[in-house]
Symmetry: D2
Subunit: 389 residues, 4 copies
């Protein structure tokens, strides 16, 4: 392709822009994954990742995409034919349902309109009806990447408790971790699933399962076949800085650096930064006269914002204009909202001026694509960001 001046703006909701500091860490030569230098690194990283999940329990690192970590959560804890309660919040929750079905589970799906998060009341209702405790797990997506809706996980926990139901609670925070607050231990999550290429600012290639004692206990009686995803072999070897098969060494270099960067900034500052950028983005969208995909103000995502197109306008055509003219990638509408919305990622290694550039690209691209918007969206964001709103 022809050379384009200046940096590409990677404003999809992940992979996020990988900072140079992490790229340079990843670029270090690969070392012997059975030697003392690696073992020291592995032990360090396995400790540093825990506070990111806000857990004291083990976090398992898979050399695999987030999709693999989804599978791992299920195959380690459940048995063929088990019923799982899964909540449809968008494309990714839907894909998780498909995965569960494919590997022989029986998902019971709470349907959704893709504009709301998990409804704790409905979860409670369903569980309350399940007197026989046939439902073995409740599966929710924390931050639905396809819509920009962040579910209220603590309230879902309370709903499960209110129903007095023993189901495991599994939460996918692939695109939420290290951008939106997530407290594995405090919120009573049994398996938290995440990935590298979002808030952790890494390239894709590693993914995670944070596990509760209850999940580990469940694993003992799980009858799903598994090998690569098996927790026990990981947990057995990790304390000595080893993995049951060759780890993705270079991404672990990057993960080490990412944890340092997040802790140096302060996790709560990281969350506040994301909230601030999300609010600025929403002000721009509203000024343009466009709808935000998320309809519940309690569920706005700090990670990304889904923008709904006016009737008769194709979001993908807008995205193409923006990519061609301004060298910025935005997220497409996925699945059933394809063409009807686009997604602005404002996560990871990101700051005010990058956001201003991002929103500028959106505003200009929308106009150039002929979408009838009101100008002034960027101005609204500037007013907010500068404290003049």
């Amino acid at each position: 392709m022809a050379h384009r001046a200046g940096p590409h703006f990677l404003q999809i909701p992940g992979p996020s822009n990988v900072p140079g500091r992490i790229l340079r860490a990843i670029e270090r030569p690969t070392i012997d994954h059975r030697g003392p230098e690696f073992q020291a690194l592995a032990k360090e990283v396995l400790e540093k990742i825990k506070p990111i999940f806000k857990t004291k329990n083990p976090v398992i690192i898979f050399p695999a995409s987030g999709t693999g970590a989804w599978e791992a959560a299920l195959v380690n804890t459940l048995s063929p034919g088990d019923k799982v309660l899964m909540v449809e919040t968008g494309q990714f929750s839907t894909l998780w349902v498909e995965l569960a079905t494919r590997i022989g589970l029986k998902p019971e799906v709470i349907e959704g309109d893709w504009r709301h998060g998990v409804d704790p009341a409905e979860v409670e209702a369903r569980l309350s009806k399940d007197k026989g405790h046939e439902i073995k797990a409740v599966c929710c997506v924390h931050n639905e990447t396809s819509t920009g809706v962040t579910s209220r996980i603590p309230e879902v926990r309370k709903a499960i408790d209110a129903a007095g139901h023993p189901a495991l609670f599994m939460v996918d925070t692939i695109s939420g971790l290290a951008s939106a607050d997530l407290r594995h231990d405090e919120w009573g999550i049994d398996v938290t699933i995440s990935g590298s290429q979002k808030g952790l600012m890494l390239p894709p290639g590693i993914s995670f399962n944070a596990v509760s004692d209850k999940a580990l206990e469940a694993a003992k009686s799980s009858k799903m076949t598994k090998s690569y995803w098996e927790w026990s072999s990981q947990i057995g070897q990790n304390p000595t800085g080893n993995f049951p098969y060759t780890p993705n060494t270079n991404l672990l270099y990057g993960l080490n650096e990412a944890c340092d960067m997040l802790m140096d900034e302060g996790l709560e500052n990281v969350f506040a930064r994301h909230e601030r950028h999300a609010e600025a983005t929403r002000r721009a969208v509203r000024q343009w006269g466009l709808e935000i995909q998320c309809e519940d103000t309690r569920e706005y995502s700090p990670v990304l914002t889904g923008v709904v197109m006016p009737e008769g306008h194709d979001a993908d055509a807008v995205r193409k204009v923006i990519l061609d003219k301004f060298d910025m990638s935005l997220g497409a509408g996925l699945g059933k909202v394809k063409g009807r919305m686009f997604r602005i990622g404002h996560l990871g290694d990101f700051n005010d001026l990058m956001l201003c550039g991002t929103l500028s690209g959106c505003e200009m691209g929308l106009r150039m694509a002929g979408v009838p918007i009101q100008t002034g969206g960027v101005q609204a964001a500037l007013d907010y960001l500068s404290g003049n709103a």
Copy 2:
């Protein structure tokens, strides 16, 4: 750890030394894996990888370690309870048997002494006895990384044919590919399994299945549960430069570069270079008066050489001296040969002077560890490498 001057010598049989050119490729910013730039890259890489396997059929790329590609080969083609004929050549073939067992297959194992490759005659004998064709697959390791023995795959193919047996032929060449000749199509292999961190000179994190038409046909009736490893979703999306889940983008940058480097040097030159280094290494070992783990001269590995310790000497103590004094990592004896041998990797991005440094470290370390060797091993290698042997 304290700073050590000069480069570490990573002479384990993989991960191999990653060249700077590949590290710099991997360091490029991650891009949108659904955008046109990525799709062009993916299509390019998916084509370039084929001649490395010497196949015209699809090669599937998993964002996973080689262990995952082992699992993928089995779960895509077989069904629960299927009998598979597996040949024990060392630790890795043993681990593959364990994996097969764990996921519900019934391995029938041809036992071995870890000093020889697959015996084609025995394969033929076993298959000939299997009149009912209960054996669904024959699984061999091409280059056994734990011993330095390279099996004669074309002869195993002939053995299967001689037995007139319809079993699938699966070959693990995780540590053989791009170092030792491997011809997926010509040799009639149904599934070839490989990884990134050996002859391909990449960090670990991606792995491969090259598949025959027969394997693809078998996949249609396979009843193993699977999701992440499913070939069909990969093969369905790859032609447009897409993957069914987030690919390991940065390693694909590196893979693209690795394919260019291999093709630029010429695959046959790459193989000849490995053979030459292996021969020089064996001459050194013999001069030291030590035994080579591989006992059949037709099966010497071009990738690594297993060196047997004299009675009463611990290979791991030697390895520790060499790591401490000379900053070189060598491969340990694995499994049942732990402590009784060490392994010298001479693969990947490697040249004559690196080999001389490697053998020098071995010779000095053996002496410093008190192993009774004859000196002159490096000299023997120099004589051979300079054409003065």
Copy 3:
């Protein structure tokens, strides 16, 4: 310093933001500067740099900052006590006068108000008066980095010709090259001086003299003492890919890449891009109600824009707010305009969205610093950039 998320915006008028592609080129291992690989590189780079200066004559590359190339231009062509006509356009022209004085030349200075470029008429007048041709050189800054004023070099050439004066014509385009059009041969320049860290997008460390035949002829009778800066030793060795002393090898890797990037985009496209960004910037500044330092519309710089503060407001205080709050570096007012203006660099590896981020940072920072501006500057830029102005 504490970690800050997202990229720093380096919007001083040089060093400009160095693109990753160039940083990765520079990161390649240093090689033998007397070996064939280096010589091939050097010959390639020495050819590729010529069209950037639009010359067919030699371009000399010094391992030195631009200041060194200023000195080189003078000491190679002149003799102690020579009179040179130098035009004050800002801080850098003033520093060049100081340098000339320090090394024993006699500058005659045409004074300026720092808001205009070189006045061709005045040059002609001065030269016309110099009947004895005591003036040996006319020295002008093409793009005055301290003010954002770009002189009309072809008209200065015409002025010299109109005066029928034989003086050498020396042009400093340290911050102009590869951002603003500069035609060494066509414009009749005798020595063009430039540096690496502006339009060439490299880190600082190499600088250039492009030389005319007349300049080379003058060099033969020059009596200034010199050694490091001596052209003849460079020109003698360059044709074989050698330099008279150790070159800055790694920056030459980067230069090679920079030339490829510029040629791939197309020099005229590069200039148009800079003009477009400069115009957008000026529209923002005017909307804010602030003055542009450059007062002649024919002399607006495509490289940077100088912004004048309203009475009573300190530009450096504004810059500090912007650095602290938005992690953006802007150029300070230098010398006699210190505190009275700041400079926005919009050069090098730069694109529309980076510019929008840059202007957003300025607008927000100005407001936060209490400068009484009108908002809407960014909006004016967006209107222009999107074709809606």
Copy 4:
């Protein structure tokens, strides 16, 4: 050029192999050289470089090759027509004489045979004869890069003192610094000249003057014209982390890292490592039956070893064989010893196994080029390095 597997061995006596850690430091984005982050870096580096020179006085950093620092030493302290006593030890001392002559000094040269270092007795004799103190400076090369001879600088100091002569003492340790011990203060050196691309392990591009109070005093009355090289402008600005013109920022990143690496290893350990490698090299050379260029055992260089060819054999032909066959660069014989010797660099980021590879390449290349040597040179080095000599 065609791809070659494995790393190039850069065994010229500088540039030395640049470690990845430094390359990655250099690869960081360039920042504002007038901003607080740079100033903090500059102050840090300006302090860290002092113990490398073993001085408490300022060390001036020039964005220039070592040749520039030679010039700087002279033009800051001397006046036109000054007599300087310079000692011929090889090609670099000869080039320094040429430089001094070119800039208008009057070198008085103590001739040498290129196989010995500076003779302190002869320096004393010459100075003693100079009753009128017309000699203003004594200039010696510490480690003569063209021959592998390291002069006994403390004894030269004593010679000057014994003669009771007030001349300034200038020492070029461009290739000695951070490889061979050098004590600016303790040894009473007035100007120490060095560069980046040798023991400091950086790419070329910055160079140094360490200065005594006496040198600073002399600078006040120096009448040489100068601008770029002027100490006073550097010393005036350095305390605030500034430089009088744009510094080579990215090499300063590398310098910072290099200082950390050297201090982490320990300077005395660094020197011992170099001595050890030099001794191993000499043992190899002697076993080959070849002569070492340096004839005085007190003056063996720890940085490089000059190897003399037997009559009738061309060193450059040997070097070409070694480059072509083994991808190793060795230093050529320079000036009057061209073709009659080659130079093995064993400096910088270097370790035992690299040395073994280096000597192996020499031994094989010498044989392949038809030079009548005895084999066993590498063996002799191994015996020494492993403590079995």
